[in-house]
Symmetry: C2
Subunit: 225 residues, 2 copies
DNA sequence: TAGATTGTTAATCGATTAACAATC
DNA sequence: TAGATTGTTAATCGATTAACAATC
């Protein structure tokens, strides 16, 4: 399976799913998984799994399934989990706090080094090992602490401003949790995590299933279908 | 352009982006947007935008751009925003609370009717207009309150159990915020929102850009490349 | 060994982009 | 009007699936 060149985006998006799968598979089910096992576990076809794994670097040719440790090792490498990444979180609301206090980020190589907010009422507040700092110092914090990644956990209308400040400080990557797009220089990477979009997509596909009506206290208005 | 039949998933995923775009576009920029405007705003090609809009139902043929009110109206319809959906949140950690207290969900048609947890320390706790209820009653709550959607905001290892309980109560859709897949009956719709995956994807693409090294306090281990 | 399962090539399917006539 | 911009068809590109020889 040759050394990885450039993995297509659509494949990269499945890699974390494989990671979660091998974690859940556990020793209970044995040391090996077939493409069939993985496919049925994740709702894919075995072909897709094998094609995807083409981009990973496995040693064997034993043809009795994939070694879960090898899958794990390769995903750790490709997803860069064995490099520490320093993270600052912009926005000390519940979403920002959820990330800051998430117990497992370290497992994936992420280390939250600070959290900032614009609201004077929360600046200075302690939670966990963090003290909320003033967002006006965020660029300096990023610079001084050599932060790699900024998490945008602020309302949509502030997202671009916050992104600009983070980038000014020198982050190379942004995780955008806001329901808006942020524009960034070419050297900066952005991944959007779409919570509100997720709910809206869910609405759509729930509706698709039951063509219409069927809902409780509806206030359907200008329907024209 | 003809009434919608079945919109391809890849198009549906862009619809919320169009929604955010027209919101941000605002009256300041005028009442019309061209496919070119939208494309450059969202990083798409004008062709893609026009092809996508094929699935929406516009009235005109004026050829001077799309009326933002019409785009809005159509997205509201297709994303079912004008129907109220009742939501229960499983997991009263920061993530669950973030959703419960999100001020704008109502705008999109979502109404949080309850939040449940398994932790005795938080059961009974008040926040906002909510009182955290015992997760053991979640099926009953779903049934009694005629809940449409369950949000899974619990750790990965509890996600399947929580999904089962929600489904037992009768939810027709799940928003899964946990880093694992949940298996559900065919009638239930699931959308996964991937926060941890997002960070991992970000790791990968940041690394792709700068082929390797270049990182601070790394503890890179079994590298074999 | 024989059955199982990979790695890989080729076929299919679907999504994106290009191009342009229609028309405001 | 003339330039702009759509709606739509056709071409390209890429991703998924099928199929199967290699081989453990």
């Amino acid at each position: 399976m040759s050394v990885s060149k450039k993995i297509p985006a659509v494949v990269v998006q499945r890699l974390p799913q494989y990671l979660a799968f091998v974690r859940d598979w556990g020793i209970a089910n044995g040391k090996y998984v077939s493409s069939e096992d993985i496919a049925s576990g994740l709702g894919l076809t075995p072909s897709t799994v094998r094609q995807d794994f083409t981009h990973l670097d496995f040693s064997d040719g034993k043809r009795r399934g994939y070694d879960i440790d090898e899958i794990n090792r390769e995903l750790i490498r490709v997803l860069d989990m064995d490099n520490d990444k320093r993270v600052v979180i912009a926005g000390a609301g519940n979403l920002g706090r959820a990330l800051a206090l998430h117990g497992n980020l370290g497992t994936y190589g992420f280390h939250v080094r600070g959290i900032v907010d614009i609201n004077p009422k929360v600046i200075g507040e302690r939670f966990g090992k963090f003290v909320v700092q003033n967002i006006k110092y965020v660029a300096k914090i990023v610079r001084d602490e050599r932060i790699d990644i900024g998490v945008i956990a602020v309302p949509a209308k502030s997202a671009q401003n916050v992104a600009d400040r983070l980038i000014l400080g020198g982050v190379r990557g942004l995780l955008n949790l806001a329901f808006t797009r942020v524009v960034v220089p070419k050297k900066v990477r952005v991944i959007d995590v779409r919570i509100i979009s997720g709910l809206l997509l869910l609405s759509h596909i729930m509706n698709e299933q039951f063509p219409s009506s069927h809902v409780h206290g509806s206030r359907r208005s200008q329907t024209n279908a």
